[in-house]
């Protein structure tokens, strides 16, 4: 499990005034390369940034993860949740680069997206900083294991070690 619980979110530092709203939970520098489609990425050996659309098979990227620095996952609509699985699969497969949710990203979805491994957000509409903080701090615990380092309630109940496997 990768720890993506970076410190505090950073804004769009170093980006021009025309930059889109941007929220980032990583300490490294944002990747400047434009993200290409999965097909284009698989067809060209030097791309380092790729953009996943809901219908794409995330697992096609797995043989190439060592050269990926940025994965954008597009949420064209609020209700299309395929991107949550895409993100979590990438983290489960050991991807440690930037994982950025783009498109229809609302403040009410941020906590779930963080749990699925997203560490950067480029929403269509800007998010209010106070709302972001409130949304991410709302729930004191989690019930299940996901792609973040949060310890599920059932492991807290029995001591973290007991969470490893069955007794």
């Amino acid at each position: 499990m990768v720890d993506h619980t970076s410190t505090t979110p950073s804004g769009a530092e170093g980006r021009g005034p025309e930059a889109r709203p941007f929220l980032r939970f990583r300490d490294d520098d944002p990747v400047g390369d434009p993200a290409v489609t999965v097909n284009a990425f698989l067809g060209q050996g030097n791309a380092t940034a790729v953009r996943i659309e809901p219908g794409d098979d995330t697992r096609e990227l797995l043989p190439h993860l060592d050269r990926v620095a940025l994965v954008e996952v597009n949420f064209p609509t609020l209700g299309d949740g395929r991107g949550y699985s895409a993100a979590r699969i990438l983290r489960e497969e050991g991807y440690t680069g930037e994982l950025r949710a783009v498109g229809n990203v609302l403040v009410d979805q941020l906590a779930f997206m963080r749990r699925c491994g997203f560490d950067a957000f480029e929403p269509g509409e800007p998010l209010d900083a106070a709302d972001v903080e409130a949304a991410l701090g709302r729930f004191p615990h989690v019930y299940q294991q996901a792609a973040d380092s949060a310890v599920p309630i059932w492991s807290l109940r029995h001591g973290k070690e007991a969470g490893a496997r069955n007794g």
Binding site: Q145, P152, R157, R165, N166
Partner: protein
Amino acid sequence: MYRYDQYDQAMVDARVEEFRDQCQRRLDGQLSEDQFKPLRLMNGLYLQLHAYMLRVAIPYGTLSGAQMHILADIADKYDRGYAHFTTRQNVQYNWIKLEDAGDILADLASREMHAIQTSGNCIRNISSDHFAGAAADEVCDPRPYAELLRQWSSFHPEFSYLPRKFKIAVIASPTDRAAMKLHDIGINLVRNNEGELGAAFYVGGGMGRTPMIAPQIREFVPLDQLITYAEACLRVYNRHGRRDNKYKARIKILVHELGADEYRRQVEAEFEHLLAQKIEPPFAELERLCEFFGDPGFENLAEAEIDRSDPEFALWVDRNTHPHKRPGYTSAVISLKPVGGIPGDATAAQMRLMADLATQYSFDECRVMHTQNIVLPHVRKADLHALWTKLDEAGLATPNLDQIDDIIACPGLDYCSLANARSIPVAQKISQRFAANGKGDTLGELKLKISGCINACGHHHAGHIGILGVDRKGVENYQLLLGGSEADDTSLAKITGPGFDEDGIVNAVETATDVYLANRADGERFLDTYRRIGMAPFKEALYG
């Protein structure tokens, strides 16, 4: 019964505050209805024809007396003095003001209850056998496993924006009392040849406009892999379920289009992958949950003879009790289907009485059945007459469990914004008809289910007799279906032919029962006779 610890309580309390905030933002105009809709739906708040409707989760249908009391208090304080028990073992309030929603959730949280994920395209309340922990035929109590699934599915970060809603049922006996194979996932706890407990997974059942019976996807999932396997089933669905058409988005369509074998192959591959992720809860958690559902201090009673000298009481005993695993005990069903009443409705006073009777006679526990009745699971046979007397005084002793007037009906066009036709008046007329003509008592087990639209909330596909309300050129029209079953002999009902108007459908139901009575062989239920003689004699009588 399960009790919250500080973690469960903190999560539910946080949800109350979150939703209070969201409601306030809506009332202040900061949120548009479009923005608010997905948020309120995750909390069970629907905008219906006349008002907001709030659906409260009753996990696996189990309630304490105190919980039933708070449900009654909410009915009085925020609604019109009654509530409606649903086919998914939940409870609904039909006349809610948005201003009150936060306070209602806070009242619920004070009794370890909530409305989390009672709507929306997420994993809904987990349902189970209403006789769990009491039934003579169960392998184990299914509820610890349902509770584990409840916790796993609560605020699940990956599965909160599924293609469509997702319903899971867990049972643990060969007799299916929860329509298990008509759920997105049906889990049946079984023992393998080595005597170990595990879970058989059935995936892709459902009703709605395309009813399907779930095929078995895995014969035996070890208990220490239960959550991982469920996660694999859900992930395949979340990634590949159809999102281009709302009416083809349930998992049953995916399983049907892929075929059970290909769906199984994908799930098994995902399962292998997820096993390595170590997402399974510690086994100690399952052991902890099992302790909550241990036997509630039964007395060692001799098997008791019930005094049957009062014929009305004897009839109620025959119809409304179910065999218990312990000698001297029985499970008693409180019918919410009085003749001419609204199926599943109870007044606040009735709810308080049921709560107090549960406390007095059933170890402080009652259950909601998917057939919209209430069970007192653990009643001493010696107490049955006293219990029945109190129920009778409150109009709650109708002796009609699984009889023709024990009707499942959705709220229909009287409340629901999706409905095409009213369900409640049809149910009322049918129960009145069969009470008046005296035939009701001659029919034996006959499950009648009414839906006011093709979404099938009234389970018409699974009725021995089903009724489907449709809109025909602006007029309510009712189709008749025969031969469905939600039990372990699951089958889907077939339409007899052209539909009927409201009075016509009542006549048609009576005609169908006349065909049954004329053809019934010894001991046959309506369903058995229909299966033996087929549709033709019914069609002939209805349309000939």
